[in-house]
Symmetry: C3
Subunit: 320 residues, 3 copies
């Protein structure tokens, strides 16, 4: 059997993935999706220890990676910052050196500060997967979103996709823009001026000022979660105003019933989305979650194959 | 092999269980008790994902369900409210929709508010098991208590059972009264007037004012945990007075050495019970805990068989 | 096959282990180290339930025991104090009685108060392993440190080992002194007078006042973690002064490049150790962590064999 590998044995930001890498991941995710049965395990990560190191609260991403890693027969080390030695002032790098010395070779890291996954990758023999770092990136969300579009609409190249909401602070937006560009989609942004990035042209996107125009133009709309803290920092006048101008509601669907709507969750219903939109079958929120498991299985599997040749930190220590 | 099923594929309150259901559960619990070996798994829940969603602190109930589900080969998602996205303001229903989209089909739920399990059952294709909701019910405690009486005394129909202590606020009492009535026991309550329910007659129980009379009458006494918060709300004059009038001590056992004493734990020793009573072999506190594992295995197994025919949420999503 | 057992079926302090016990553990740890493969399990603890009861925050020790117990096919109950019923005022003993009633037979306990493991051992039919109690002992750290010296230097008898830093408050120091003495090493202590124990002579150690002399004398130096709280209690003038007089830096290694340096972690870099010392290959910090897994596997395995004959708490309850 041919060994399918990625360009790089880690995933720090979406630009680590070439178009070819992306399709390898989607192909493998398709395979897992066809063949997955709860309780039956693939052995892609047999002999690997995966650390789930979440320094920010998380339900969906952590459980998704956990189910994915388990389903590939990995051993799992799971820890939250608060219950670890970090409360004794141990540095993150020390914590990583410690778990590396216990044989961990894949690190799934979420952290409130941008760049922590990169820093850790530079200081380990293992592989780091970025599960969300500050306002920087959340590349596996980008992966699962692209996978969802392909499975829903058959292709992604040339598709018109508009991202709506708080682009400026969104690591999800950053990862999606990169991956959608790599895959040849047309990307637009629609947001209040205070929540737009400063140099959108460098991102190869168009700006659509008005939500009605955006929805008319787009085949897929991705709404983003609005961080309620943004209110207080003066970037938005009121939630009500945001909801009136940038919230997606049942009226939009009445005008365009085949609109494909995505959201990374958790949704602030009444703010980004009206709860009633869930009646439309093209609202993909649940499906995105399901796809997340398979895309993460695919990523973990391919990273395992790509890093396989590398030295195992645990093995090293036995040779002393 | 015949497929044994329950009347309903979920357990929200004790009235969901008919007498026939109860004996099916006890029969299966007996089977597991005879055949259980730590480390050898039954495959009753192979292919199921069980979420342990505990929104209140818990040692015994959570570990008990965890051991039970593992011993039946289920995959387990375990999460506490505080470390989940709920701290980001995600609604409980959203959290459930998310884990449902990852394939969870059985939800074991403990929550501080009465009615949450019912609400969730109404909004999922899976099965909810109530592991304690507010002051409403804790039906698996009722199950394990009844199972303990049957195993200890050979039968439960016609037995005289008195529940002592803070009936008013106790979800354990509510579940026990329902199940004991269904099984044909005679049930009495003994408590200070401020801790009795308002309409005990509707519950088909008798009231015994005096603890000495209660112990003389009863074959089994169930003491309840007194919530220390009750003191502060003015429902009790002092702990000392409660203990003097409603605490069970060694004197009661000297007068009636064959008294069977139960308590759902954790015990406030010195308040509901004198620590010395543990010298008597008919004090069932530890045994109740052990039985809890087997009764929960039985319940999970039968719910799995009952819901088997239903659509799997995960499977649904694959068909899109 | 002969059954290798220890003198005692538990480990509360290092004096529970004879010289013969220690070499049995190291021999078994060597075996596991040669034969370990992530994902392949030994069955030494098949049928056992191991509770990891950590009442203090911990990364390295908890994950190390968890990996060790899993690799021996044990079932694991993991709980932290804060998320358990202990927040309802349940006593520790009650918690242990509860998990004992669910079949737990090995308890790995870390607690902020000295003597808790002893108290629990006196009240259970199972086996307690002390994973650190107050300022008393941390015997498995002593085990893994001795194992590291033997593997690094070929032997330990007659070796000169100096422990540097806050001896007075260190449970690690107490366990190391006991085990190193049992194994026939020469032990010295080097610390500011306020951080030395009161009667070092009873401990069979020599005192070396000056760090330079200590390093010249020793073949192995064990630095200890300085608890920052010590500052505030007036036992140390400033951190800077401690670091100047008792911190180990690159100069020490330039003068003695073959110095073997150990530290139990987490390190306060800049205080006990200069970060640059990590360039030297005889700095064993990571290796100690790796050895911790195998030494704990060995200990768990041998305790399992030693206690095997004893009654199983779970089994007992079935006989009622």
């Amino acid at each position: 059997m041919d060994k399918v590998t990625l360009s790089k044995p880690y995933l720090l930001d979406s630009s680590d993935l070439t178009k070819e890498d992306l399709y390898k991941i989607f192909h493998r995710a398709d395979f897992f999706m066809q063949n997955f049965k709860v309780g039956n395990k693939f052995d892609d990560l047999k002999g690997f220890i995966v650390a789930l190191a979440f320094f920010e609260d998380s339900t969906r991403t952590k459980l998704s990676f956990e189910l994915a890693a388990k389903s590939l027969s990995a051993e799992i080390f799971s820890f939250q910052a608060k219950s670890s030695s970090l409360s004794k002032g141990e540095s993150i790098l020390d914590t990583f050196k410690t778990i590396e010395a216990m044989g961990v070779n894949i690190y799934v890291v979420r952290h409130g500060s941008s760049g922590i996954p990169l820093f850790l990758q530079n200081n380990t023999d293992g592989s780091v997967i970025n599960a969300g770092d500050g306002k920087h990136e959340h590349p596996t969300q980008g992966l699962l979103d692209a996978f969802t579009i392909i499975r829903k609409l058959g292709r992604i190249e040339g598709m018109k996709i508009c991202i709506v909401g708080d682009i400026l602070h969104s690591r999800v937006a950053r990862s999606n823009i990169q991956i959608l560009n790599t895959l040849g989609a047309e990307v637009a942004l629609c947001a209040p001026g205070t929540l737009l990035p400063f140099y959108p042209k460098e991102w190869n996107v168009k700006i659509i000022d008005n939500l009605d125009d955006a929805i008319e133009w787009a085949e897929v709309v991705m709404a983003l979660r609005l961080q309620r803290e943004r209110m207080e920092s003066g970037l938005l006048p009121t939630m009500r105003e945001f909801s009136n101008y940038y919230g997606i509601n049942i009226e939009h669907f009445r005008r365009k019933p085949d609109l494909v709507l995505m959201h990374p969750g958790p949704v602030n219903y009444g703010l980004e989305l009206d709860y009633l939109v869930n009646e439309y079958s093209n609202v993909m929120i649940q499906t995105q979650v399901t796809h997340g498991v398979f895309v993460r299985m695919a990523l973990l599997s391919l990273i395992g194959k790509t890093m396989n040749k590398e030295k195992n930190a645990f093995a090293n220590l036995f040779d002393m």
